[in-house]
Structure formats: structure tokens, C-alpha cells
């Protein structure tokens, strides 16, 4: 046990050494902060940088505050639990190395790139960094997600950037109505995410295989979806989802929708077009399967209209899943035209496809048109003329009897009035 502790301490120490060139020059300034905090503060010598103990001498005291009254407290215990515990305060607050004490209130901004060069370089390309460059004070910087003195590793379950906690961290801004209104960022999607299959699996089942925000958007180099380099740009979405849903992504890419996307055609859907971006629901739920029919209809307007005229369309519109929706015949992801022999709606496959529900379907049966259009004489001639006949029949019957009824009604009203008038006459006479 003791050996292990010593070993761990040595490791932390070695890491700290490698991180800070400055620290190498003054190895004596790297005692464990907790130990240092216990010793009485002494004013640092003018030619020697202050140690952590010197800093905590003032900053662990709850009464330490700026002139405007805001506290500038850093608890040694909090810092000791952070991933940076092995570093000296001046390793980050480098401007304090040579400062006179008490030092000025306004310190230079900490440059995380001193150590985290790659992460900061990525961050600088991000929508957050660009917003900051544009003058935003709300866009996230390093500390907004990672914290400052309390920063913990993302592998630490208590870290704000841990997989199970990241969504809540992003929601500090992206779920905050005030921040949304002031910074013009997209409307709150955090609740949709929390209700989604991904959000629920993370929160309720604690499954870390489900993606959190960074799974799709990236972490440091988050870009707007309209940026073609973004993993959530429409063209990249199938690959992004495919990181986990590889089998589905392969099917999707083989289908007409995936091909449209690959050809750079913007009217083709990607995963989020049907599944939504944040509110993704379980695909085996009837409610979702019914709602996605409407999604298909947002592009396939004529197809959905003719589908709604059929029994399948009527029953699904009523909210019952016992009959076929789009995906039952066309397939969900690898959607292919009827001209492709692999398609479930290819003529040779129709008996099998219809037969999934209609057990005794035969060649005659599949002459049924699941998208019959009564207004299309070329596609459905018999239906077209029968529909015309029915319209004439209904208009004729209601027209003639409507007229008959109107005449009759007015005649009887008149007759009643006359009768009342005569009885009135007799009564007064």
C-alpha cells in the first residue's frame, strides 16, 4: 500500500516535471499543495517565484476578495483533487512569477496552450472560439466546460467533461433560455436530447456506449452544421452515426438516399432528416414508426397523399400500427427503386413483400396499387373513371334532393303560416 502511494506520488511528480520546463528549474517548488497549505504563509523572497503555499496563504481564506467584493477563494482541497494538483499556481498564472505581493487584481489570461497545445489549436477553429473572436463573452472557453481550479480528467466520473456528465455541462449554455436569447445560438435541444434514446440510455442505464454531445459534434473543434467539415454537416451525418451504427450506415449508403447524399445533392435526406438530430427515438416503437411516415411525406408529397387514400394510409393516420407504413414495403435504410431487382418493391419481389402481412398473396393480389391515384387516368384508369362516376352520382343525388328539400321546406313553412293566419282570422272573427 505504502509503496503504491509513493509510486503514485512519484508518477504525479514526474508528469508535472515533464509538463513544466519552469518547474524543472525549481523542483523544490513542487511540494504537494495540501502539505504546503498547512504550513504558515511566508512572504516569498523577491527573487524566488511564489510556491503554492504562498498563494493559499491568502486564497484559501474565505474572506479574500476583490475590491468589488467578489471572492477569490481557491480551496486547497479542491485544487488537490483536480487533475492539475501537481502543478504550481504560477505554472498557469505565469504573470505572478515575478509579481510584487499582494499582486494586482487583474491577472493575465491563463494560456492553456502552454501544455494543451493541440486541444487549444483545435478549439481555435471552433464555433465557440470564433464567436469569442467576434466579441462574444458568452461562448464557451476552456474553463466554461473544464472548470478552472477544479478541472478534472474526463475519465474521472465527477468531471464536468465525463461522458455521463457532458450533456449537463453543454446544457449550462445550450439549455439556458437567457444565453440562447442573448447569443442567438440554436433553440434548446437539451431536453430533446434528454428524452431521446441516447439521452435516456446515458442517464438511466448509464451506458457509455451511447453518444453524448461530443460523440457527434466533436469536443474542442465544434463546427456549425452548415460547415462542410463538421461531423454533423448533412453529408457527413451517415458516417458520424455510422461510427456506432455501422451496419445501418452501410445499408443507407447503398440506398437511393445515401447515393443522393454521396452525389452531393442537398435534397437527399441523411439520418437526422427522419430520426431528428437530438430527439432520436427507439425505432421499434409504434409511435415513432407512425410519425416517420409523415417525415417521408415531407419530400414525397404525392406519394404520401396517395398512400393516405389507401387503407394502409387511413389506419396509420388513425394511429394504429397494424398495417403497412412506408418502411414495411420500401425498407427503412437501403431504399431502392422498383427497377432495382434487389428492391422489395421490384415486381419479382412483390408477392414476398406483400406476403409479409398478406399470407396468401399471389400474383393477382399484388396488382393492387398501394399508391393508387384517382386523379391519374394514366396510372389508374378504372379507378379514375369510377371516381368520376361517383363524384357525379354524389353531386347528382345531393343536388337533386337538396333542391327538392329546399322547395319542400319553404312550401311547408308557407303552408303553416297560411294555416296559422286562417285560424287566427277565425279566432278574431
Amino acid at each position: 500500500m505504502a509503496i503504491r502511494t509513493i509510486g503514485a506520488a512519484l508518477l504525479v511528480w514526474a508528469l508535472a516535471l515533464s509538463y513544466s520546463v519552469r518547474a524543472l528549474q525549481r523542483p523544490s517548488s513542487l511540494p504537494l499543495p495540501t502539505a504546503a497549505a498547512q504550513s504558515a504563509p511566508a512572504p516569498p523572497a523577491a527573487d524566488q517565484p511564489p510556491g503554492n503555499a504562498d498563494c493559499f496563504g491568502c486564497h484559501e481564506d474565505d474572506s479574500t476578495q476583490r475590491q468589488n467584493g467578489t471572492p477569490v477563494v481557491v480551496k486547497p482541497a479542491v485544487y488537490a483533487a483536480s487533475v492539475h494538483a501537481g502543478l504550481g499556481c504560477v505554472d498557469c498564472h505565469q504573470d505572478l512569477e515575478k509579481a510584487e505581493f499582494p499582486h494586482p487584481e487583474k491577472l493575465a489570461k491563463v494560456n492553456c496552450a502552454t501544455c494543451h497545445e493541440e486541444a487549444v489549436a483545435k478549439y481555435k477553429t471552433s464555433v465557440h472560439a470564433r464567436a469569442r473572436q467576434g466579441g462574444s463573452t458568452l461562448a464557451a472557453s476552456c474553463v466554461d466546460c473544464h472548470g478552472s481550479h477544479e478541472t478534472r480528467s474526463k475519465t474521472d466520473p465527477t468531471s464536468a467533461t465525463h461522458h455521463l456528465r457532458l450533456a449537463a455541462t453543454c446544457a449550462k449554455c445550450h439549455g439556458n433560455a437567457e444565453v440562447i436569447a442573448r447569443s442567438g445560438i440554436p433553440a434548446d435541444v437539451t431536453k430533446q436530447f434528454a428524452d431521446s434514446i441516447h439521452g435516456r440510455v446515458l442517464a438511466k442505464s448509464g451506458l457509455v456506449v451511447a453518444p453524448t454531445c461530443s460523440g457527434c459534434h466533436g469536443a474542442h473543434d465544434i463546427l456549425q452544421p452548415k460547415d462542410v467539415r463538421s461531423p454533423v454537416a448533412t453529408a457527413n451525418v451517415p458516417s458520424t452515426c455510422g461510427k456506432c451504427h455501422e451496419g445501418i450506415a452501410l445499408q443507407f449508403k447503398a440506398g437511393v438516399h445515401g447515393q443522393l447524399l454521396a452525389e452531393g445533392k442537398r435534397d437527399g435526406p441523411a439520418c437526422q432528416t427522419c430520426h431528428t438530430a437530438h430527439g432520436i427515438q427507439r425505432a421499434d416503437q409504434a409511435a415513432w414508426q407512425l410519425s416517420v411516415i409523415g417525415q417521408c411525406g415531407t419530400c414525397h408529397a404525392e406519394r404520401i397523399a396517395t398512400f393516405r387514400d389507401t387503407f394502409h394510409g387511413q389506419v396509420t393516420a388513425l394511429g394504429y400500427r397494424t398495417v403497412a407504413g412506408c418502411a414495411d414495403c420500401h425498407g427503412p435504410h437501403e431504399i431502392l427503386p422498383a427497377s432495382d431487382p434487389r428492391s422489395p418493391i421490384a415486381p419479382a419481389n412483390l408477392v414476398a413483400t406483400c406476403g409479409k402481412c398478406h399470407e396468401n398473396a399471389n400474383a393477382n393480389f399484388v396488382k393492387y396499387d398501394p399508391h393508387a391515384n384517382k386523379h391519374d387516368a394514366a396510372r389508374n384508369p378504372v379507378l379514375y373513371y369510377i371516381s368520376k362516376f361517383m363524384t357525379v352520382l354524389l353531386a347528382g343525388v345531393f343536388g337533386l334532393f337538396g333542391l327538392h328539400t329546399t322547395f319542400w321546406f319553404s312550401r311547408e313553412v308557407r303552408a303553416r303560416r297560411e294555416r296559422l293566419r286562417t285560424t287566427d282570422h277565425k279566432g278574431t272573427a
Partner: protein
């Protein structure tokens, strides 16, 4: 105007069997309309709610088929009774003549005369036992049974029918089933209700189809030709009946009011769905 039934002499117009059959016809028709309309107007908000009230699509579908079988049973019973009267009882008056429901030349004259009366250019036609609009209602059921019943059976057993008819006939079947149902429902719940119950002379309702009797004065006023014929042949005396009991009247009014209320509600929903579509 007299409201008391007991003080007047009554005549039997409909036999008990006819009244029962009409009652079952009403029941099955209302049931079919209620369970079918949600499907026809499936994209309307009320359709979803009505389907749920009926116990869901599957239950509504089963009820629809139960009512369909009932209606087919009523229709078959009626046909069987007609056949018996013609074949067994050798009563050919069913097929032709003043008491037949088969359209007669005089019906055409009645239509013309009725319209003349509407515009004040002549007396009211002297109607016989069945008027032209009643005959239209009657034959509309035959047409409806063939079209809606036939298409309904096709839609009920598509795999079976597909052995004989091509699949696109199911497209046609669904279209005519719905359109014809709309015609039937719209016609019965507006025109038939108006002719039978809601027009000023009958308002709020005529319960002869429930009690089977009407007053002699009513018969004389509404169907003078029939009244004269019955008087001349001496049949009138044989058809005399006691006034319907107060209970019969209440039962008749309750059934009639309920049916009219459901019917008008459905018409309202249909109109709403068509307007908001």
C-alpha cells in the same frame, strides 16, 4: 292541431316484422357509419378520438364487420319475405300496382305535381301507399347493399377475392366503399331525416315506423289515394288498430331522437372534416 293519440282512430301502416327489420337496419346502419367514418376521415382530429372511444381500430373494425353481418342478415330476411309473398302466397301486388315499391308511371306524375305544389301551381299530389321519395330510399338500399356490401366483402377477404379479381380492384373497392358510404350516410342523415321527421309538417318526428300506426286523419291527408282505395275496398276497417300506448310512443320517440342525434352529429363531423381538410 291534435296531439292526443288516444282520441283518434288509428290505422296500421307497418307490420311488426317490418318495424323490427327497420329497427335492426337503423342499428346496423348507425353502427356501420360510426365505426367506418373514422377510417374515411382518418386525418381529422375527431377521427382519432372516435376510433379510440370505439376501443381502437381493431375493435372498431370488428364491430364494423358485426354490423355488416347484421345488415346483410336484415337485407336477406327482407328478400326472403318478399320471395315468400310472391312465390308461396302468390301475392303479386308486391311486384306491381298501388301497394308495390316498384316505381309506377304515376310516380313520375307525382314528382311533377309535387314540384308544381312546391311553387304554388297546383294541389298536392294524391299519394298512394309509397311516395316516390320513399321508393327512392328503398331502392337506394338495394344499390347500396350491392356496392357497399360487395366492396366491403372484397376488402374483408382480399386474399380470397384475389384468386378471381386483379389487385387493382381493391383500390376500386375501397374508393366506392367510402364514396358510397358517404352518399348513404349523407343521404339518410339529411334527406331521409328531413323527409321523414324534420320538415315542418312532421317536426320533430314521425314515429309511425316505430309504432306501426298513424291516425286516420294523417293517412287521409298524406296519402289520399291510398285512403280512398282502402275505403272503397273495405280494407280500412280491417286495418283499424288501437292507438299506440304511451309507452310505445315514448319508446319510439327515444329511438328516433337518438338516431337523429347520432346522425346529425356524424353529418356535422363529416362537414367539419371536409371543410378543414
Amino acid at each position: 292541431m291534435t296531439t292526443a293519440f288516444s282520441g283518434e282512430r288509428h290505422i296500421t301502416r307497418f307490420s311488426r316484422a317490418d318495424r323490427v327489420l327497420h329497427g335492426l337496419l337503423m342499428l346496423s346502419f348507425l353502427g356501420l357509419a360510426l365505426t367506418g367514418m373514422p377510417l374515411l376521415f382518418s386525418t381529422s382530429a375527431w377521427a382519432t378520438r372516435l376510433a379510440r372511444v370505439l376501443g381502437g381500430f381493431a375493435v372498431a373494425g370488428t364491430l364494423h364487420r358485426v354490423f355488416a353481418v347484421l345488415l346483410i342478415g336484415v337485407f336477406a330476411t327482407h328478400l326472403a319475405r318478399i320471395v315468400r309473398r310472391v312465390v308461396v302466397e302468390k301475392d303479386h301486388s308486391v311486384l306491381w300496382g298501388p301497394t308495390s315499391l316498384v316505381p309506377q308511371p304515376r310516380d313520375l306524375a307525382d314528382v311533377v305535381q309535387h314540384f308544381r305544389w312546391f311553387v304554388g301551381r297546383g294541389p298536392r299530389p294524391a299519394f298512394e301507399r309509397y311516395t316516390y321519395w320513399e321508393k327512392f330510399d328503398y331502392w337506394a338500399v338495394f344499390w347500396g347493399m350491392a356496392i357497399i356490401g360487395g366492396s366491403g366483402l372484397m376488402l374483408w377477404f382480399p386474399e380470397l377475392f384475389s384468386r378471381v379479381v386483379p389487385g387493382w380492384m381493391f383500390n376500386v373497392a375501397l374508393l366506392v366503399h367510402g364514396e358510397e358510404a358517404l352518399l348513404a350516410v349523407g343521404f339518410i342523415f339529411t334527406i331521409h331525416f328531413f323527409n321523414g321527421h324534420l320538415r315542418p309538417e312532421k317536426f320533430p318526428m314521425d314515429i309511425v315506423i316505430f309504432t306501426g300506426r298513424l291516425t286516420e286523419a294523417e293517412l287521409q291527408h298524406e296519402r289520399p289515394a291510398e285512403y280512398a282505395r282502402l275505403q272503397a275496398s273495405g280494407e280500412l276497417g280491417r286495418l283499424r288498430a288501437p292507438a299506440p300506448t304511451p309507452r310505445d310512443v315514448v319508446v319510439g320517440r327515444t329511438i328516433g331522437t337518438t338516431a337523429v342525434a347520432i346522425g346529425l352529429l356524424l353529418v356535422g363531423l363529416i362537414v367539419f372534416a371536409v371543410i378543414t381538410h
